[in-house]
């Protein structure tokens, strides 16, 4: 089946402004959007640029906007989209470097702000710290986040205020604040309750819809809000 890929192209070194370019790809069942992009790059137009690596939805390289929704190109099957034309654009609100490659520096800086590492000053002893399966279960979703940026890029609060930490950063904060081994809750709660922190989340749920790993950052942010309300800072 022939499918049209309509891709937003932009090379600031050559182009005055972004433009759409159409490519036709012969699609077999099972082919993913990444397979389609590869087909274009390898056989039609080598100048097309995008990030990709694992092609199994774990490295987080290939998040992009596909028919208006943020997804990973690698685990999105073309035929399941049920459209003759697939519109592919770079992640919204992140500065475009070239074609589908966006600048994620600000995204990763916002992850770093919340101190994304275990803070545990009590001596650990020679063996592992114990953690009950129930306590570990609280982290099941948060530790799966692949930092692809699909959630933050989909968040209207982030569109309007680039200083907002965004769902990925807050999800990372949740991952440590709800880790029974961690002792950094207070300092992290102070960081995320800042004016550009979690109160900017208005439970729009775009991040939940956008997450290619079917995770729920909005729920985590709601839990964090509860935690702040019940913690004396």
């Amino acid at each position: 089946m022939e499918i049209t890929f309509k891709i937003l192209r932009f090379d600031p070194d050559k182009d005055k402004k972004p433009y759409y370019r159409k490519y036709t790809v012969k699609v077999e069942p099972g082919m993913t959007v990444l397979d389609g992009l590869n087909e274009i790059k390898w056989r039609q137009d080598g100048t097309l640029s995008y990030r990709r690596s694992c092609r199994s939805a774990i490295c987080g390289s290939c998040a992009m906007t596909i028919n208006g929704v943020n997804r990973l190109a690698c685990n999105t099957q073309i035929l399941l989209l049920k459209r003759k034309t697939i519109v592919v654009e770079p992640l919204r609100r992140f500065p475009v470097i070239k074609d589908l490659i966006v600048d994620m520096d600000d995204f990763f800086e916002k992850i770093a702000i919340i101190k994304p590492y275990l803070i545990a000053n009590s001596p650990a002893g020679p063996r592992e710290r114990f953690q009950s399966p129930e306590d570990r279960k609280l982290l099941d979703e948060a530790v799966i986040c692949i930092l692809c940026g699909a959630c933050t890029s989909s968040c209207p609060s982030y569109w309007y205020n680039k200083n907002y930490l965004g769902p990925a950063s807050l999800f990372k904060a949740y991952r440590f604040i709800f880790d029974s081994r961690d002792e950094g809750t207070e300092e992290r709660l102070r960081i995320i309750s800042d004016r550009d922190g979690l109160w900017r989340c208005h439970s729009i749920f775009n991040c939940v819809e956008a997450c290619p790993k079917s995770l729920n950052p909005t729920y985590a942010i709601a839990e964090l809000k509860k935690k702040i309300v019940t913690t004396k800072l």
Partner: protein
């Protein structure tokens, strides 16, 4: 040309590179270069676990772990290095836990452990089936904490040597398109594997083995390259990994008759036989017409584990099977086939992570390697599952320590040679200026398909000879490529071409090495020499580059505790 100076340059930001960086960045000015952002590294795709004899799930000891590993290696692993691996394994895992790795837990709060192929005890410490992902992210988080200096999306093109000392690298900033010289006292390769030499692979697009040919091109040998691991369970036609943990949790392998055929190949261990044996069993079933519908795949059946266990222990497998082959593994068996997975061979190193250049283990000053790109050799002819995460982390740390010690002795920088960047500049200019008719994608495709056919699970002289000819033809055609993108910014067309150049260089060593080794051992199986031959081949291969193809030399296998015996499961 942009110049940088750092005491230490580490290439690669997977488990080995990051763990080394954590060790050195406290005491020395360290830079980590990676062609992908650190958390995109392929260590994150490892699923099932990391081995350590914690004895949380049964009795266990480093001695048992050692014997399993030596036997798994088909006696080609160096036992002094294996002893370090297994003795330091528990401390490595405990250290990870203290860093914050969210391991799955037993009811008593200790780290949960599961069974894995070739291990005689439940020894794989895991976080559901996302173990590599959480190890990689935790190390990256620790690097943020300790302010490690990253150059992300920098592609290393060449190594700079002066008077036999390594003194830096030349790298291309993929985003900006400029060449950079990194002048350093020590360089460490942690560049991972090369699954992309094969059509069906579990590996990422980035796994093109660049590090191997970067050193091979300047006269450093590469070791045991003929040993390529095929993982028994890759998703059909995609090659995407289905963790061995799926069998560790009790999954069955079935042929077209619904038979658990492993009973004919490994009656005792069944599905938990080591990977070389299991992949061969599957391929035999397929070759003898017992694949599903007579096609080139078989099934892994997890249904009897039940939805709860699958979703708790194997959630990623559930997700991957659904996304890529449209199968809900709770309700249906999953179509799978063997997939090119891991390189046992690599850049030869000693136990301290120093790169060595001959059979006497003479080190190169300033050059180090660890992880999949290196060959220390703890895996010998066949790696056991969960030993690679262990090796990368543990030898990453050791190598970091060695470099830190080296810097305390070493005062100054070896001066850069004149025209240090010239080879890199010329290589890139040649690609950009080439207006030939050949396509990079086409050559790569032909290489991957032919490697699968001729240098896969079953090999023989005729097929290997044929593959050598094919590779020579492709190398010749590579001289006449053209690429579309001639710009600087994010020129991934250029990166694809550079990577193909590397692939074409080192695959020749895999094939020539396989042709040269007239025996069957571990992952290397010659149908024309089906027996292991300890008398002639209990030795490591060292391949040196010459204009006429690789020249071979050999290195003794270190045997301390366990003498080679017949290997049965």
């Amino acid at each position: 040309m942009i110049h940088h100076q750092h005491d230490i340059v580490i290439i690669g930001a997977g488990l080995a590179g990051l763990r080394a960086a954590l060790e050195t960045s406290q005491v020395a000015d360290t830079a980590v270069l990676s062609k992908v952002f650190p958390t995109r590294s392929h260590s994150g795709a490892a699923q099932g676990g990391i081995a350590a004899s914690l004895a949380n799930a049964s009795d266990d000891s480093w001695e048992v772990h050692m014997f399993d590993t030596v036997k798994g290696s088909d006696y080609l692993g160096d036992q002094d290095a294996i002893e370090i691996l297994v003795k330091e394994a528990p401390a490595t895992v405990i250290e990870f836990e203290h860093m914050g790795v969210p391991f799955s837990r037993n009811p008593d709060g200790t780290i949960a452990q599961r069974r894995f192929g070739g291990h005689s005890r439940p020894r794989a410490c895991y976080a559901a089936d996302y173990t590599g992902h959480v190890l990689l992210h935790t190390l990256y988080e620790q690097c943020i904490k300790h302010g490690v200096n990253f150059y992300s999306e920098f592609y290393v093109v060449s190594l700079i040597m002066n008077k036999g000392n390594c003194c830096g690298v030349v790298a291309l900033d993929i985003i900006g398109g400029e060449l950079h010289i990194f002048h350093s006292k020590a360089v460490m390769f942690a560049t991972g594997g090369y699954g992309r030499a094969y059509k069906i692979t579990s590996n990422a697009h980035a796994n093109t083995g660049d590090g191997l040919s970067i050193v091979y091109r300047i006269g450093i040998p590469i070791e045991d390259m003929e040993f390529v691991q095929f993982h028994p369970t890759g998703l059909y036609q995609h090659g995407i990994l289905v963790t061995e943990g799926a069998r560790g949790e009790g999954g069955y392998l079935l042929n077209r008759d619904g038979e658990r055929f492993m009973k004919r190949y490994a009656p005792e261990k069944m599905e938990l036989a080591p990977r070389d044996l299991t992949a061969r069993a599957e391929q035999t079933e397929i070759n003898e017409g017992r694949g599903i519908d007579g096609k080139d795949y078989i099934l892994i059946d997890l249904r009897h584990l039940g939805a709860e266990k699958i979703m708790e222990r194997l959630p990623q497998i559930h997700d991957l099977a659904l996304s890529f082959v449209g199968v809900d593994c709770i309700k249906e068996p999953v179509p799978i086939q063997p997939t090119a997975h891991y390189s046992m061979g690599g850049i030869p190193t000693n136990k301290h992570g120093q790169v060595v250049i001959d059979k006497d283990n003479t080190p190169v000053k300033g050059l180090y390697a660890a992880g999949e790109c290196a060959c220390v050799s703890v895996h010998g002819a066949n790696r056991l599952g969960t030993n690679s995460q262990l090796e990368a982390s543990l030898f990453g740390r050791r190598t970091g320590k060695t470099m830190a010690e080296f810097l305390q002795r070493e005062e100054g920088f070896t001066p850069l040679p004149e025209d240090a960047a010239k080879p890199a500049e010329e290589e890139i200019a040649a690609i950009l200026g080439n207006e030939g008719k050949e396509s990079v994608a086409q050559i790569r495709e032909e290489l991957q398909v032919s490697m699968m056919d001729n240098c896969g699970i079953f090999r023989d002289e005729k097929k290997l000879q044929k593959e050598l000819e094919i590779i020579k033809g492709l190398q010749e055609r590579y001289k006449h490529i053209h690429i579309d993108d001639k710009g600087k910014r994010c020129n991934t067309d250029l990166i694809d071409a550079l990577e193909l150049g590397h692939l074409l260089d080192f695959v020749e060593v895999i094939v020539a090495g396989a042709l040269n080794r007239t025996e069957s051992r571990g992952s290397h199986y010659r149908t024309d020499y089906p027996k292991r031959d300890d008398e002639n081949w209990l030795k490591h291969t060292l391949a040196y580059r010459t204009d006429k193809g690789p020249r071979f030399d050999y290195k003794k296998v270190v045997i301390t505790r366990y003498q080679p015996t017949e290997r049965k499961y």
